[in-house]
C-alpha cells in the first residue's frame, strides 16, 4: 500500500540498462511485497494503537488540563507544577538511590552466578532452573511473599530467623533508612534469573581455545576471568547494564505493594509519584508532564551512556 502510488516505470526501466532496476509496484507485488505488508499490518496497527498512539497522547496531555470532559491547553503549567512539588526531589533521590543500589547489587551477582554455573558440569541445567525460578513467580506474588518475610513483628520470617540467634525483631520496611535496601534485595532476587540465563548463553559461546591458551600461559582462574571472560562478554554486559539502569529507574510495583511509598515517603519513587498524580489526584496533566520529564531524563542517560561506551563496546 505504501508504494502503490508510484507511477508505472516500465518505459523508464529500459532506458538505462546499466543502472540497477528501479522497483515497480508490479515487481514489488510479484516479489511478495503485498503479502509481507498484509502480515506486517496487524503488527503495525497494534504498535500504533497500543504504543505509539499512547505516547503521542501522553505528550499532548502533558500540555493540557483535562477532566476528560472539558480539555484546556495550559502550555507548560503542568511542568511548572511538577518542578514546584517538594516531593519531586525526594522521589528523584529515592529513585537514584534505588537504581544505584540495584545496579551495584543486581549487576555483578548474576555475572558471578553465571560464571559459577558455567563451571558446573552435571548440575548446570538444574542450577540454571533454580536461578530462573524466582522469575517465574508473578511479581505481585513475590512482592507480597517478601512483604510477609519482612513482617516487623516476631512472626515475620526474617525476624523468626533472627530470633533463633537472640537478635531482633527488626522493623525492616518500617525503618526509613532500610526501606530502599530492603526493596532492592527483593527486586534483585526476583529478577536476577533472566540475567543469569543471558550471561550463561554468552559464556557458552566463548571459544575454549582462549581459555586453553591462557591456561598454557599459566593464567590463574581470576586472571582467566579478567582477561578472557570479561572482554568476551563486554558487548552483552554493556547492554544489560543499560537495560538494568532503565528498568530499575522505573521501579514501581515493589514500593507500591510493599510500602505504599512510606515510611515518610522514603520509598516514594518517580513512578509512584506519577501514579499518585494520576490516580489519587486525578491530575493527568501533571502525571504526564512528569512522565515526559522522566522519559527525557532516561533518553539523555542512554545517549550519554552509549556515547561514552561506543568505542569500548565493539564486538
Amino acid at each position: 500500500m505504501v508504494a502503490l502510488d508510484d507511477p508505472p516505470t516500465a518505459a523508464r526501466a529500459e532506458a538505462r540498462p546499466v543502472r540497477r532496476r528501479r522497483p515497480s509496484p508490479m515487481a514489488w507485488v510479484r516479489r511478495g511485497g503485498l503479502t509481507t505488508l498484509v502480515f506486517f499490518l496487524p503488527l503495525l496497527l497494534t504498535f500504533a494503537y497500543f504504543s505509539w498512539w499512547p505516547i503521542l497522547r501522553g505528550l499532548v496531555l502533558s500540555l493540557q488540563q483535562t477532566n476528560f470532559i472539558v480539555t484546556e491547553w495550559v502550555g507548560l503549567a503542568n511542568f511548572e507544577r511538577v518542578l514546584a512539588d517538594p516531593l519531586l526531589l525526594t522521589a528523584v533521590w529515592n529513585t537514584t538511590y534505588f537504581t544505584l543500589l540495584a545496579v551495584a547489587i543486581g549487576f555483578p551477582v548474576p555475572i558471578l552466578l553465571a560464571v559459577l554455573i558455567a563451571e558446573m558440569r552435571r548440575t548446570r541445567g538444574f542450577a540454571s532452573v533454580l536461578a530462573y525460578l524466582p522469575v517465574i513467580i508473578p511479581p505481585v506474588v513475590s512482592v507480597l511473599l517478601w512483604k510477609t518475610f519482612y513482617r516487623p513483628d516476631e512472626a515475620g520470617l526474617f525476624n523468626t530467623i533472627l530470633g533463633w540467634v537472640g537478635l531482633g525483631p527488626l522493623p525492616w520496611l518500617n525503618d526509613p533508612d532500610f526501606v530502599i535496601p530492603a526493596i532492592v534485595v527483593q527486586a534483585t532476587w526476583a529478577s536476577f534469573g533472566t540475567a543469569v540465563i543471558i550471561y550463561l548463553a554468552t559464556l557458552m559461546t566463548i571459544r575454549t581455545e582462549l581459555y586453553e591458551a591462557a591456561e598454557i600461559d599459566g593464567a590463574s582462574i581470576l586472571r582467566r576471568f579478567w582477561h578472557v571472560t570479561l572482554p568476551q562478554m563486554r558487548g552483552i554486559l554493556l547492554i544489560m547494564l543499560l537495560l538494568q539502569l532503565i528498568g530499575t529507574f522505573q521501579v514501581f510495583t515493589e514500593p507500591y505493594i510493599m510500602t505504599g511509598g512510606g515510611p515518610e515517603n522514603r520509598s516514594t519513587t518517580l513512578l509512584l509519584l506519577i501514579y499518585r498524580y494520576a490516580f489519587v489526584s486525578g491530575d493527568y496533566g501533571r502525571a504526564t508532564a512528569l512522565s515526559v520529564l522522566l522519559a527525557l531524563a532516561l533518553s539523555l542517560l542512554s545517549a550519554i551512556y552509549l556515547w561514552a561506551t561506543r568505542r569500548w563496546s565493539t564486538s
Partner: protein, 462 residues
Amino acid sequence: MRRRTRRAAPVALLGVAAMILSACSGGGSGDDPTEGASVDTDAPVTISVGGQPTTENPEQLADFERQVEDFTAEHPNITVEAEETLWEADTFQALLAGGTMPTVMQVPFTEIGALIERGQVADITDQMGESEVLQQLNPTVMDVVTDGDGRIYGVPIAAYTMGLLYNRALFEQAGLDPDDPPQTWEDVRTAAQAIEESTDAQGFGTMTLDNTGGWILTTMSYAFGSTMQSDDGATATLDNPATTEVLEFYRSLRWEDDSMGANFLLNYDDAVNAFAAGQMGMFVQGADNYSNMVVNRGMDPEDFGVAPLPQTDDGIGTLGGGTISIISPTASPEEIAAGLAWIEFKSFLQYTDEEVAVAAAEARIADGLAVGAPGLPVVNDEVYQQYHGWVESLINVPRENFELYLSTVEDLPLVPEPSVKAQELYATLDPVVQAVLTREDADIEQLLGDAQNTIQTALDAG
C-alpha cells in the same frame, strides 16, 4: 522512488493515527446537562447502570435482573443496560476518557468532593425536584453531595458514621466488658493496654497508607475538636491543637504503652484483615463494616463490636462515609431523569413498598449477607422507622451488640470531609502519621507545620 516510499510510511501512519484519534474523541463529547430546561420524560432513552452483581452471587443477580425487568415494565420508554462496573480509583478516569462510564454508577463518599471539584459528575439538582422519595432523604447525608451553591451531584444510597470498631472476644479475654465500650480516649488507651497485656493481639491500631492515615487522622481531629480546612476550603487549618493532641495520643500508645503493634505501614486491607483475624483490638473505621468483617473476612458475628467515636470535651463530631449513586457528566437531561428514576426504583423503593423491602432482605439472607447491620439511615427518621418495621423479623445481625452505637448514631454530629483537595490533604498527612509511629523523636510541631505549608500551597494554586 525509494525516498518517496520512505516518506509515504509516516504519512500512512499519521493517517492511521488520525483515524484512531477521531474514533476515540467520539466518546468524550456530551451535552451540558444544565442547558436543557424542558425534559421529556416519555421520550425513549437508554441508560447503562453499573453495579450489577456478579455471577458468584446468583441470588443477588437474580434479584437485580428482576428489578431491571420490573423497572422497564413500569417505564417502557427507558432501556436499561446493566453492567458490573464498580468504582476503582485507577479505572474511573479511563472510563470517562474512553466514554464508557455507565450513566449511573456508585462511588464512595470520600470521592464525591473531588469529582464535583473536577466537574466529573452530573449536576442533578433540577431533575431531583421531580421525585417525591428523593425529597425525603436524611439532610445530614445530603450535605455530602451538595456543593457551596446548593447544587446536588448525587444520591446517597447507604451511609455510615466513622466509629470505634472493637473486638468483643478480645475485650472479654482482657477482662473488659464488651457491652460497655470505651467512651473517652483515655478509656481507649486503658483498654488498649489491657488487651496488649492479656492477649496476643495489639490493643489499638491505625491505617497509614494510601491516604487512609490522613483520613483517620482527620476523623480523630474532629473528635478532638478541629476541622482541617476553613469552611470555604480556602485556608488549611491542619496545624491545630486538636490534631497535635491526636498525634500525641498516637505517640503515647506507640512509644509509652507499646500497644499499637509493630507494623506501621498498613493500608485498608491490612488493617481490616488484622482486625477480622483478631490481631487488633480496636481501630477507627466505618461503622458499616459488619458485612465486610463477618461475611467477607470470616469474623465471628459475636466478636464484632462497634461504638460511637469517642469525643473530647471540644469534640465536634465524626466523619461520615457511604455510597453515592452518581450520574455520568456526559448524560443528557433525559438520561439524568431516567437515571434518577432507576436510582429511586433500585435503592429507595424498599422504603416505600413493603413487598420490595422484604424481597430484598430475603435475597440478602439467601446470599449469606447481613440484614440490619449498623449504619446511618439515608432517608429521614419517619421513613426509616416504617422500613425497619417491615424487615424487623428478618434481621440476622446481633444488633444488641451495637446498642450504644445505634442509640447515639443520630445524635453525634456528622462533619463533612474537607471540601477542597481532601485526597491531597490525606496524602500529605499519611507521612506525618507514619513519622510519629516509626520515629520516637518525630517533631510533631514541625511535621504539622510542613504539611500545613504543602496543603496551603496546593489550595492557593487552585
